[in-house]
Symmetry: C2
Subunit: 189 residues, 2 copies
């Protein structure tokens, strides 16, 4: 997606060879018009999959997931991050390891909003190690939903996430794929 | 806002005299079309205030704040909740007490995205005790921004939030004002 790549090159900051800051338009300040174009793009790509719901994980994925759900005319379901176990029988729960923060969190979703056989599209802002998507996939398996695709705004293709998701049989579509980061260097695939 | 009130009466669950669950369309599952109507309504009400940015606090306020910012053609800035102090000179930080969770959190925002004299509109999903809005106001004061208004999706008018904010001189506009909650009872003002 050229508009996104231009924005990344113009405003993204490669802090080091692993970290790309895009907090001026995606993570902290949000460019709503760009998010609408992103949602339009995801919706067009996954149009044929008969998506029933879009899911994302709070908080940075909400804006692109919202616009995607809106174009697909389906509800958005926001999975929650908890810092301690909830032990609530109304919730699905799984533990996810964050390599970025080097800590675990509990990912939860209400059983009310995930019905058997629903076709689900997951949208997230970044793909790096893939653990958040795999956690989401575990919850969707427990709910007997079908994870029909994964839409990623920015993929760090030099990290193992895409391979892990493809090995799990998932259809991963990323709008910008970063081949290399370095001090002041941002290279796309 | 009639559409919102109808939705609250149809899908909201008054758990007790303090708690209203609206997780089928606002907090967990999100009705994107309703959020667009909410954003349209907020944008129309605050149109004359020359808003430069919309701010909200992660995560439940993001959807209505996103649509409001989009109609006003301004960026959205998402304030972050941290569980420990960050001590980062690039951030504004204040401590907010959550009566709902009976705990404190650190509210932070990057100094990069709040410029002196900017006119700010805050959007949030709920107003109860007003502490989140007051924390946001402290950060905006530190940034020398002007908090031109506060847009609330659902106000629990039987709690002290509105009074505290009005006493602080803030313009508070709520789309649904709940006078009374009880077991199965939801009454608007």
């Amino acid at each position: 997606m050229d508009l996104l790549k231009e924005k990344i090159l113009k405003e993204g900051i490669a802090v080091n060879e692993n970290i790309l800051k895009v907090d001026s338009f995606l993570n902290h300040q949000v460019d709503t018009k760009l998010m609408i174009e992103i949602g339009k793009n995801f919706a067009a790509y996954f149009q044929s999959k008969n998506i029933d719901k879009v899911v994302t994980i709070e908080a940075s994925g909400i804006a692109p997931a919202f616009t995607t759900a809106n174009f697909l005319n389906v509800p958005l379901v926001i999975f929650k991050k908890q810092h301690s176990s909830i032990l609530n029988h109304d919730l699905f729960e799984t533990t996810v390891h964050s390599f970025t923060k080097n800590s675990d969190y509990k990912l939860t979703a209400s059983k009310k909003f995930l019905k058997e056989n629903e076709n689900i599209l997951m949208i997230d802002d970044f793909l790096a190690n893939g653990e958040a998507v795999l956690g989401t996939s575990r919850i969707l398996n427990a709910a007997k939903c079908n994870l029909q695709g994964v839409g990623i705004v920015i993929e760090k293709s030099f990290q193992p996430g895409r391979n892990k998701l493809e090995n799990a049989g998932l259809d991963v579509y990323s709008l910008a794929r970063i081949a290399k980061l370095g001090n002041g260097i941002i290279e796309f695939i």
